[in-house]
């Protein structure tokens, strides 16, 4: 991670996203969310608030949920980053996505990538989560359309299959 000569404002860094390695020159202050969306075209993670209140930007960093809007891209250069675009290859991710579809656990869909990522982390952490555990794990992901009952149901159902 070195500043590029003659372009001192920019930082050269390497990110590992969805199993692929990317070399980038970016503003040192840029968030992981902006790099994913603007530089790399992974627009699944959304900017709902840009201040860590809504969870729409949730991604996995080394397997744990992270609010990418509050994460400096430069701070995760040695980490494995997974976005919603990459989780189809994860068997649990695929099951979750199918469960969300089946239960209609989404309406406008804007918060859905963040919901799916948080749910995946939950299922990687708890084998058979209770309803209350699901609610607690998902409390950081706002859904203004109010798809919560079906999100909870979709996760509970998926946890039984996994």
């Amino acid at each position: 991670m070195t500043a590029q000569p003659g372009l001192s404002r920019y930082l050269q860094l390497n990110l590992n996203v969805n199993g692929k390695s990317f070399e980038l020159n970016v503003e040192p202050r840029i968030s992981l969310l902006d790099v994913l969306r603007i530089n790399l075209g992974y627009t699944g993670a959304k900017k709902g608030c840009d201040m860590g209140s809504c969870g729409a930007c949730t991604v996995l960093v080394d397997g744990k949920t992270r609010l990418s809007c509050l994460t400096l891209a430069a701070s995760v250069t040695n980490s494995k980053i997974e976005t919603v675009e990459g989780i189809e290859n994860d068997p649990k991710g695929k099951i979750l996505q199918e469960s969300f579809i089946k239960h209609d656990a989404l309406q406008c869909g804007f918060c859905t990538p963040g919901q799916v990522i948080s749910a995946l982390f939950l299922l990687n952490t708890r084998k058979s989560p209770t309803k209350n555990e699901i609610k607690r794990f998902m409390a950081g992901n706002v859904c203004r359309c109010g798809a919560y009952p079906k999100i909870i149901q979709a996760i509970e159902d998926a946890s039984k299959v996994i």
Partner: protein
Amino acid sequence: MVKIVKTKVEFEGRFRDEYVMVEGEEIQAWPGSYKGKLVGSPSPRLEAGAKVNGSAKYTHDIYLPGMLYGKFVRSPYSHAKVKHVDLSKALAQPGVVAGYTANDVPKLTGEKQIELFSDEALYQGAEIALLIAADEITLHDAIELVEVEYEPLRHLVDPEESLRLRGSHAIGGKDNLSGGTPRVYERGSVERGFSDADVVIEQEFRTQAAMHNCMETHGSVATWEGDSLTVYTSTQSINNVRAELAEKLGIPLRKVRAISTYMGGGFGSKFGGGKYTLAAALASRALGRPVRIVLDRIEENLVTGNRSQTIQKYRIGAKKDGTLTAIQLTSVVNVGLQGWTADIGGPTKMTYKCPNVKVELYGTRTNLVSSTAFRAPGYVEGNFGLECALDELASKLGLDPISLRLKNYADEDQGDKIAYSSKALKEAYERGAEIIGWKPGEGPTRRGTKVRAKGMASLIWWGGGGPPAYAQVKINTDGSATVVTASQDIGTGTRTAVGQIAAEELSLPLELVSVQIGDTVTELYSPGSGGSQTLASIGPAVRSAAHDAKSQLLDIASQTLDVAREAIALDSGWIVRKSGEKLSSVADLLDKFGGATVTGKGARGPNDPKHQVNTFGAQFAEVEVDTETGEVEVLKVVSVHDSGRIINPLLLSSQIEGGVIQGMGYALWEGRLIDATSGVSLNANLNDYLVPRSTDIHEIQSEYIEAEDTSNNIGAKGIGEPPIIGVAPAIANAIKAATGIRLRELPLTPERIYRALKKMDDWTSSARYF
């Protein structure tokens, strides 16, 4: 032969005349007994796959080559004179491409006079200047370098104060009473009604301003090709945005294309283009590059409007047996700078049989952003007051709340005295009461410091839809079908529902139907997605178009296959004899014509003048109040609706659950807090403005009574708004039943409940719900 028919069309309770072109015979409505193969089935959304894997592209996800970013400089004051704006330091930054103040507007607009910036900010967040930069970090840095000299002026954020000072402090030089007079509705004589009454009650209620807080903030990306503009925009009405831009820019409609393929929620706040869209279009034209203006979360809370704050005074007269003799409502409605006065009196005028009704609404202007529609505007606010007051009346008369409501059941529309196209509210009361286990006279249940009880409320809304709405259904060479209409899916499931309707009519599996919506390039006008009107407007047009396509296809098949037209039908992509024998696949048939397609046209027919279309519902809540903390858990909500034929029960239940949850937010947590001293918002973000989260949700049971309705050819009425309307009063009535305390001011926060339980005085704070 095209016939022109004049018809009345309603939108959120306001009526207008429309002329409709009717081609051929209007197809018959499905009778109540009709059981569809696809219509009525709980199919998952057509686009769900794209939403769960991140490939659905929203306006926020549009990044065009060479695109620039724009952001407004906004007033931090709710009322201030803008004395001087200096952009020079911002413009000197590398990467800042342009900046505009009020003086520069002619550079952008040419001959057209457009007010883009204010020289007197009349609400917090008012646009003062605009910066355009190559990237967002540069842009945010540059905004900080803009120097604006303000002269703060006296602000009026409290509507009662604004009315009092109407003579001396006219906001922006206009009467603080919106329109100069109250909006008055009267039928019968309330004076007579009150003198006929055995009991008269007087009740006052207050409701707060609620913010939409759509997950996708308002935003647009504008780009020009020659003299043609394309805008990607997060909207509930691509046709409104298109018309607004054409008008403001002074260019023909055909030169404007509005696209909203996926959009992240609107709830009433996204019916127009707004200054951000116009500014993006103007700056893009001036700079020759695409321009993106997307509001941040704070701007979203400050400038995109809100549900109005209200003060409602009710006077209700009744006989001893509960028969209503008069209802009078006087209400102050805080409309912000120049918002519209939503009909707080809707439920009062419409829900119950009552000969004498008077409603006076004082739409009051304040130094706050203009209020805007928010899911069942007016009715959510008004129903809280009315349904709480009715519970008070029931308790005074010693009647069960449901019995009181049944006693005053309206069998016909109360204003125009015309019959409803359908009404199954009685059945909804029964179903809901049964599910929640309603027992007249049942007291609260105590467990330690916690106490449980049930409450209920009725609701009435609109949602009959109407013309104009146009659609085409194309049968493609490969035998698949494409529905085309310039509607948009705001998350309610429009794509899926119209796909099901076309598939039903064409007897095709749903996988073979695709739906192209969200783009004005199709020129197939469709109304905005609001007022619970989308499905009942566009659905019948889609069915007509599919019917037309089918009819053409059978004509072609009859002549090509040499079979009598009456002897054949369509079945799962095949031309079949009515006996069932397969004659040819649709693909093979069309292949004979060198890749031909068949296009069916459909239009929404006129509304029936003999019936009024309304939606109805009964909502029940069971709550648990913690008497030591004032916290409320909504243990169970049962929401029973009459919305006509149900096209997709899975998506219907999503609408109901979503509406109930938004209603819970409104009842218990949400509310714009304004510091009365400084006039600025204290919670313009999602940390401090409390929307419901997963931990707040317990059981929500959605139910429907499928009343037969033939007012349009699919028999559907709306469901988008009804589920939010009765939630707050059902919860407040349950809290009253649990604690004996009538809370009269939303939101019913733990603090308010605690203070009421402990009989503590209201505390005075400069933070107030305006």
